[in-house]
């Protein structure tokens, strides 16, 4: 990994020095053990902070969208002939590039406004899973040695196989190498286990309706409406979320279970053909709501109905933006 970091820093520094990008979004080491956190670099010297490792969790495409739309908003006050483009560089793994593809398909920004530094990915550590594996005790120190996580907690030292701590979406990831990039750093990552992508979902689908509903309500009851899922999601970029609209008010803001379910259901359905399974919503959720179960089900349906995997190719048209003669419609007439 050290070689990747070195190369990444060199390339980032070069892009900034040559003014190919105005800002570069990447990851730096976090203040807690075994964490990394998004960082924004404008000064070439600061490129030294960049890291790329198994603790880089967030899908950074969210920030690309934020930065470009904020910039465009600020340019509204500038005379048209003086307006400048802001070019954002981003360190992107497979799922991040899928989100960028999705943004491009949805005409959110131009291909020339983003410079993609592609990085290979072998999965990231799910902090909540790691905490459980560490016995629930506070992690005081930690390091990654080969394929083992060396974790020092209040209860003592523990060795945890990295594989066991990886996020669920990473284990069965189909696109762990960038689908689109301007430059690549490091060698292609070996494949994960995409053939098992829907194993969990098939088991879930086979449960009786009452059990699936019970699971849904149980998970939704954990939600505290902090909106971390929505905020972390690169596909959730509505200017004003329907939850925050007040005329009319679509959904109550209190603790009623139905209101929480409506928020989550609307978000889930807004992800049809748009979820890249980056796992950001799951990783940020403070309460551990299993959002992925439902998102992955939607992903499976979209693939079966329209043979589409969100953001996997720039040539595709998002499935809900196009009509094809042979589109299945029995789910409308005969659900």
């Amino acid at each position: 990994m050290e070689n990747i970091d070195k190369k990444l820093r060199e390339e980032a520094k070069r892009l900034l020095e040559e003014k190919k990008v105005g800002v570069l979004v990447g990851y730096e080491t976090g203040t807690l053990p075994l964490t990394a956190t998004p960082c924004f670099i404008t000064n070439p010297e600061d490129a030294e902070k960049l890291v790329w490792n198994a603790f880089c969790t967030q899908n950074l495409a969210k920030f690309v969208h934020d930065l470009i739309s904020q910039h465009r908003e600020s340019q509204k006050r500038v005379k048209p002939e003086d307006r400048k483009k802001k070019i954002v560089g981003v360190v992107a793994r497979g799922c991040t590039t899928r989100s960028i593809v999705l943004h491009l398909q949805e005409r959110q920004y131009g291909r020339d406004e983003v410079v993609i530094i592609g990085v290979p990915c072998t999965g990231y550590v799910d902090g909540k899973r790691l905490s459980v594996l560490a016995g629930g005790d506070d992690i005081r120190e930690g390091s990654l040695e080969g394929d083992q996580l060396l974790v020092k907690t209040t209860a003592g030292e523990k060795r945890i196989p990295l594989q066991d701590a990886l996020a669920g979406n990473c284990l069965t990831c189909r696109f762990n190498n960038p689908v689109l990039s301007d430059l690549m750093i490091g060698a292609q990552a070996p494949p994960m286990k995409p053939e098992q992508e829907y194993t969990e979902i098939e088991a879930f689908e086979n449960l009786p309706t009452a059990e699936r509903w019970a699971y849904f309500t149980k998970e939704m009851n954990k939600c505290i409406r902090c909106y971390a899922c929505r905020q972390a999601c690169p596909s959730c970029y509505c200017n004003t979320c329907f939850v925050e609209q007040s005329q009319p008010q679509w959904v109550g803001l209190g603790e009623d279970a139905t209101d929480t379910q409506v928020f989550q259901l609307m978000r889930l359905f807004h992800m049809v053909g748009r979820c890249v399974d980056c796992g950001s919503c799951v990783s940020v959720c403070p309460m551990g709501v299993d959002l992925r179960k439902f998102l992955k089900k939607i992903d499976k349906d979209v693939f079966e109905l329209f043979e589409n995997r969100a953001g996997s190719s720039l040539e595709d048209t998002p499935p809900l933006s196009i009509f094809k003669e042979h589109d299945k419609e029995d789910f409308i007439f005969n659900p």
């Binding site: 909540k128 506070d138 409406r225 909106y227 971390a228 109550g252 209190g254 403070p286």
Partner: protein, 340 residues
Amino acid sequence: MEKRLIKKEALTGIIGKIAADTTVCAPVKVEDNVLFKVLEKGDEPLVTFANSKNAPKNFFFPRSEVMLRYTRTTKGMEFSGGEKEVGEAVLFGVRPCDTRSFVLLDMLFDQEKYKDPYYIDKRQKTTIVSLACAHPPYAACFCTSVDGHPVSSAGADVLLVDLGDQYLAEFVTAKGEKLLKYFGDAKADTAADEKKEAIAAQAEQEIKSHIPAKAIKPILDVNFEHPFWNTIYQKCLACGTCTFLCPTCHCFDINDEMKDGDGRRLRNWDSCMFPMFTKETSGHNPRTSQKERWRQRAMHKFKYYVDNFNAIACVGCGRCVKYCPVNTDIRKIVADISKL
């Protein structure tokens, strides 16, 4: 002050006995989380745990609360009270940082000028049994930097200290003494007091995070406009994790819900991290971006609350540090402000 010694294995039984007589709210393991919740049949209260994920403030200041109900009739509006009458309750196993949060929240909700009946009613009817941190649970704990202590009884009615082989129970207030009957009659001797002092000193040593929280107030006083504020907000997701898990955050929003002539007025948690925070009816928002909202968070905790109540609105529990999805670390922000 009355003091008792109880056997370690007796504690769970004592909680059970109290729960048989009154509502008890205690930390319980729910799937992978430790949560403060009202004990129901089958719940096992935890006596060894780090700290709960949600803060016990929820019990006095819930995420959503009905303030009043109304019905439109031919004779005009008819109003009725909010939540049904709350009864006596015991909050069990509150960590000293969180008990201190009640002291801080009292300053706001129960002050001379303004009395918040919803908060005060529950607060007065609730007895708080605190469980001292013989070993502060998190590396992110920094209570000693904000006037707290891992073995402090501030805000508690009863303080339990793990002496190793038994618990020392100190009945700090008259309200706490009402629970005496559950704790047997083994009075504590001076040896127990000495042991407690040693544990307290050791626990203080074990706090590894120290931040200059008290030094930054004069710096904040003169730096409302400073380029520093441009550097902390960019990665913030604008979610409510930090404020919703915080034991001292208390911003709320009032909102009416009405259907077919029946309505209710709700008080819901708000968060300075939300883009809707302080947005006005006109559509104007004086805090236009996450930069202004982050400044508000830092200022509210370390300046405005000090201005108003002479106390920092942070108890150093470390929740926001541990659970922020993008590792925005308040300890680092405070340290950076101290160097401005």
